[in-house]
C-alpha cells in the first residue's frame, strides 16, 4: 500500500523542479512582456499556485495515510461496538481547496485520536475481564454467581464463564462452586423455532 505514495525526498524533488520550472516560465514571459508584450500578473502568483498545489498534495497524502490507519483500526476493532468511525465531508465530487482538505485532515486526525483512546480504554477493560476470568477459574468460591461474556474480552463468540454451585442448592450450602463455560451461540433459527413443524409426522423407520 505504501508503495503507491512517493517518498518525501521524491516529493521534495518534484516540488523543487516544479518551482524552478514555474519561476523560469514566468521569467521568460516577463522578458517577453518587457519587450512590449501584454501586462502579466506578478511572479508570486505562479509560485503561490505551485505552493498551493504542493500543499493540496501533502494534505491528500496525509489523508491517505490516516485513511489506511483508520481502516486498520476498523478491522482490528471488530467485533467491538460503540466506536464512532465517521468523518464529516464537505460534499462533492469536486476539487477541494487547501482549507477544505485541512478540515478533513484535522477531522480525521481527531477521529484517529479518539478511536485510539476508545480502543485503549476497551483494551484495559478487556484485560481486567481476562484477569477476572483467571481469578474465577482459580477460585470459583470467591466469585459466586459471577458471569463474564466473551464479548467483554473482545472475542467474537457467545461463550460465557459462569460461576455456579455444583448440584444446585446442595452445592450452595456446601460451598461447592465451579465455573461453567457455555457451549456457544444459539442457532440462527432463533428460540422456539423448530426445524420440524409440530404437526409433522416423522416417517417410520424402514
Amino acid at each position: 500500500m505504501a508503495s503507491v505514495e512517493p517518498t518525501e525526498v521524491e516529493e521534495f524533488d518534484q516540488l523543487h523542479a516544479g518551482l524552478a520550472v514555474a519561476v523560469a516560465d514566468r521569467e521568460d514571459e516577463l522578458l517577453v512582456a518587457g519587450r512590449g508584450g501584454e501586462i502579466l500578473p506578478p511572479l508570486e502568483t505562479a509560485v503561490t499556485e505551485v505552493d498551493e498545489r504542493r500543499a493540496r498534495r501533502d494534505l491528500r497524502r496525509q489523508i491517505a495515510r490516516m485513511e489506511a490507519e483508520l481502516g486498520r483500526l476498523f478491522g482490528a476493532a471488530f467485533p467491538r461496538t460503540g466506536i464512532e468511525w465517521g468523518v464529516a465531508a464537505p460534499g462533492g465530487p469536486r476539487v477541494l481547496g487547501v482549507a477544505e482538505l485541512e478540515q478533513i485532515r484535522d477531522a480525521m486526525a481527531d477521529r484517529l485520536a479518539e478511536t485510539r483512546a476508545t480502543l485503549g480504554e476497551i483494551a484495559e477493560d478487556e484485560q481486567a475481564y481476562r484477569e477476572l476470568v483467571e481469578d474465577i477459574v482459580a477460585d470459583p468460591a470467591s466469585h459466586k454467581w459471577v458471569r463474564v461474556r466473551s464479548e467483554s474480552l473482545g472475542e467474537p463468540s457467545c461463550r460465557h464463564w459462569h460461576v455456579r454451585p455444583r448440584w444446585g442448592v446442595l452445592g450452595m450450602l456446601a460451598g461447592w462452586w465451579r465455573v461453567k463455560l457455555s457451549s456457544g451461540c444459539p442457532l440462527a433459527l432463533g428460540r422456539g423455532v423448530s426445524r420440524v413443524p409440530k404437526t409433522a409426522v416423522l416417517p417410520a423407520p424402514a
Binding site: R53, E67, A68, R72, F78, I104, M108
Partner: protein, 218 residues
C-alpha cells in the same frame, strides 16, 4: 469463469481526463469498452458466478475490505473529492453491504450482475451507458458554470466532477447517470466504463472490463 466467452469484442480504450484533474489527481483514469448487447435476464452461467461469489465473500472479507489496496484507494479518493465514503459508499463497499444484508448477491439483470461480478472480483468502480446515446469518447472533467445535466432541474454546481462525452456530462462521478444516457430495455450496445484512481493499476481496470464484458456476452 467457466461458460463465459473469453475473447474481447472491442478492446478497452482509455478515455480522457481534463488536464486540471490530471494535475490534481494523478492516476485518475477511465477505460471503456463496448459490448454489442443491452441488458436483460441473466443467463445461468452468470447466476452461478454470483452464487459462487456469495460463498466466497463473507463477513470477514467485509470487515477487512478497507485494508485492501484497491478499496482503500477508492476510499481515499472519495475523501479527496469531498465525499464521505461511509455515507456515499464506494461501489465495492456498497455491494458488500448489500451482500451482508441480503445474505448473498441477488441476481437482478444481466448488466447489474455483470457490474457486480467485475466490481467484487477486482474492486474497481464500473459504470455502464447506452453506447448509441453517447457522442465521442468518454472522459472525466469538472462541470462548466451553469452546465445542464439531463434529469436535473437547474444546473450542476460549477466544478462538479462529471463523466462526459465530447458534448455533455453523462454522469456525476460516482453519482447519478444523466437521464436517457443509461442502459434501458431498448439499448442494443452497452458501453462499459471502469474508473481508476491513484493506487488502482490499469491492468485492474482492464480486468474489470473484461469480466463485465464476458458476463454481458455470456
Amino acid at each position: 469463469m467457466e461458460g463465459l466467452p473469453e475473447e474481447w469484442e472491442t478492446a478497452p480504450e482509455p478515455g480522457w481526463v481534463a488536464p486540471v484533474l490530471d494535475e490534481e489527481f494523478p492516476g485518475l483514469a477511465i477505460h471503456c469498452t463496448t459490448v454489442g448487447r443491452g441488458s436483460g435476464k441473466s443467463p445461468a452461467a452468470v447466476k452461478e458466478q454470483l452464487r459462487e461469489m456469495s460463498n466466497r465473500f463473507g463477513g470477514a472479507q467485509a470487515i477487512h475490505l478497507r485494508e485492501k489496496p484497491i478499496p482503500w484507494a477508492y476510499r481515499v479518493f472519495f475523501r479527496h473529492i469531498g465525499l464521505d465514503p461511509d455515507t456515499t459508499r464506494t461501489p465495492v463497499e456498497e455491494l458488500t453491504l448489500q451482500r451482508m444484508h441480503d445474505g448473498g448477491f441477488k441476481s437482478k439483470n444481466r448488466l447489474d450482475d455483470a457490474l457486480t461480478i467485475a466490481t467484487m472480483e477486482i474492486g474497481v468502480a464500473m459504470r455502464a451507458f447506452d453506447a448509441d446515446k453517447l457522442e465521442g469518447r468518454l472522459g472525466i472533467r469538472p462541470s462548466a458554470p451553469g452546465e445542464k445535466f439531463e434529469g436535473l432541474v437547474g444546473s450542476l454546481t460549477h466544478g462538479t466532477l462529471v463523466i462526459a462525452d465530447e458534448k455533455r456530462p453523462v454522469a456525476v462521478l460516482f453519482g447519478d447517470t444523466a437521464e436517457g444516457r443509461g442502459v434501458h430495455p431498448e439499448t442494443e450496445r452497452t458501453l462499459l466504463a471502469a474508473i481508476g484512481v491513484k493506487g488502482v493499476p490499469d491492468i485492474a481496470l482492464e480486468e474489470g472490463l473484461w469480466l463485465a464484458a464476458s458476463a454481458m456476452r455470456a
